[in-house]
């Protein structure tokens, strides 16, 4: 942990994510209330950033076309976007670890089938699948999480499969087997804990990816539905007023880029810190 924070990339990534998470957590304290609140629409819409509306209320990031405060929506949107990203990645991690571990530990037709499915799923154009699933069923937050989770597990499965296979042949596993450890115990308490390093890195990178894809789906109106704010549907709503009020689309986009950069840098730093071959004396 200390080594991770001593790495400039890791420190930056952790700091940004921490700040965004704290903002999302304490959203009511940092904003003036309801993200969907509309006051006098005609008088308060398109207030530019860093200025006050007619009633003297200050808007740090301006207001959108319904007179809603962009900063409030951004902070509440962080709850939705981060939540969707985190849960979706959790789903794909569980699936990926399970499939990868089984395929790596039990050889034979089962492993061949699972690996075949993984390779197949990797070759499927993900966005096409996402569009299809999201368009054919009623769009909702739960569906977005499920779809992102179900289309993101393949790389994790491949990583875990490789690690488990390599670890299963190592002497310490052979030793545990020799003293009569049950197969599930071998897998659960000897092999998997050692195979999780690349999974942690993949998770950090995956969260950024999932948040971007959620935003993409919301952009087409297929993701999180308004008036619930998510960064994706905020960008989408800013598209129509790009000329009048560019800040409506710009603010959530900047937030999104910042979070994805933080995830990527944290993932890079984690990989270097967790990789024993790069631990210099």
């Amino acid at each position: 942990m200390t080594r991770l924070l001593r790495d400039r990339r890791g420190a930056f990534g952790a700091f940004v994510l921490l700040v965004v998470m704290l903002c999302a957590l304490f959203a009511p304290l940092l904003t003036n209330g309801n993200p969907a609140a509309q006051r006098d629409i005609v008088a308060t819409r398109f207030v530019p950033p860093l200025s006050s509306d007619v009633r003297g209320e200050f808007h740090a990031l301006g207001t959108d076309r319904f007179g809603r405060d962009v900063w409030t929506r951004l902070v509440y949107g962080a709850r939705v976007s981060l939540g969707v990203g985190a849960v979706a990645v959790l789903v794909s991690l569980i699936l990926g670890v399970l499939i990868g571990a089984v395929a790596g530990f039990w050889r034979g037709p089962l492993a061949v089938t699972l690996l075949g499915i993984t390779d197949f799923a990797l070759a499927v154009p993900r966005v096409v699948l996402l569009l299809l699933l999201a368009a054919l069923w009623q769009p909702s937050t739960v569906l977005v999480v499920a779809v992102l989770g179900l289309t993101g597990w393949m790389s994790v499965a491949r990583l875990v499969h490789g690690e488990v296979r390599a670890l299963a042949a190592r002497p310490f596993v052979e030793g545990a087997r020799a003293i009569g450890a049950h197969r599930l115990r071998l897998l659960g308490s000897h092999i998997l804990p050692n195979a999780l390093t690349p999974v942690i890195v993949a998770a950090a990178l995956g969260v950024g990816n999932a948040i971007t894809l959620e935003a993409g789906l919301s952009y087409f109106g297929l993701g999180v539905q308004p008036p619930t704010p998510s960064w994706g549907n905020m960008i989408a709503s800013g598209r129509d007023v790009l000329v009048n009020a560019p800040w409506v689309a710009a603010a959530p986009g900047v937030a999104l880029v910042l979070v994805v950069v933080a995830c990527t840098l944290l993932g890079d730093a984690l990989r270097d810190v967790l990789d024993p071959s790069k631990q210099l004396p």
Binding site: D119, V124, P125, L131, L136, V261, L265
Partner: protein, 323 residues
Amino acid sequence: MLARLGHRLLAAVAVVLGVVALTFVLLHSAPGDPVALMLGPRATPEQLAAQRQVLGLDRPLPAQFASWIARFAKGDWGTSIAKGRPVRVLLGAAWPATARLVGLSLVLSYLIGLFVGAVQAARSRSRTDTALSVATVTLFALPGYWLALMLVLVFTYWARVLPAFGAAGLDSDYLSGGAHLLDQVRHLALPLATLTLIGIGGAARFVRGAMLETLSQPFITTARAKGLTARQVIGRHALRNALTPVVTLLGLSLPALFSGAVFIEAVFAWPGVGRVLVEAVQARDYPVVMAATAVSAVLVVAGNLLADILAAWLDPRVRSAAA
């Protein structure tokens, strides 16, 4: 080599078939009955049944799928429900635009990415490296549709220099050679810039990693010990060897690039396969969705296959390992 190629081809065909089958099942298991939508709420059960029989929707799913495949293979891709035009005409008009956009951005982003990544690896841990790293990570993190909007804002609304929509101006048919080409290039500029900028981020990050890995190997030490200049070591020895994983990534990044193109085409109203697909999905235009999915799966799989062959051609070790 031939046997391996045959094996890969077989796997590729299986993937395409699988994707198409998956789409078929998804379309048919989704809520919403196209026949009920077609005939309206006042249709009697008898009318619904009759229409289903006419469309062949009363047969079991496998039989419907088999007949769709047979017709697709014969070149009969059906007629768009929403637009009333043959699906083949729709897609035939769309794919060159996508191929032009994706192909050009692939070449550009890898050429620039290779250069940036090589420079970074050659000056590893210098200020240049750090600055370029920050730049590539940011590019890599940019969501395509958002970057597209921002570019439109700057270049179309503020600077008023580039058009934001479509692949050609309204008057393009009346323009002569040079002006026609200029019109096309101007329309291509923003979508291409968006896709390429994002592509550079991923490519440069990967090239830097592959180059650093290669530079730590003994033959590089030997090359340096021989007294070769840094330029020779990087350009002739390291870059060539780092190229194999890059080419493989190029193939693997094709699906992502195509996915990205779907969003970009929608933003810029670029008349490509992606936009046809998005419009068809939103309108539940089943024949178009099926055909567009099949075509995009073929494109992606063919790209992967091509990258494999290219990697084998570049790297004798891969070639001999396969033989």
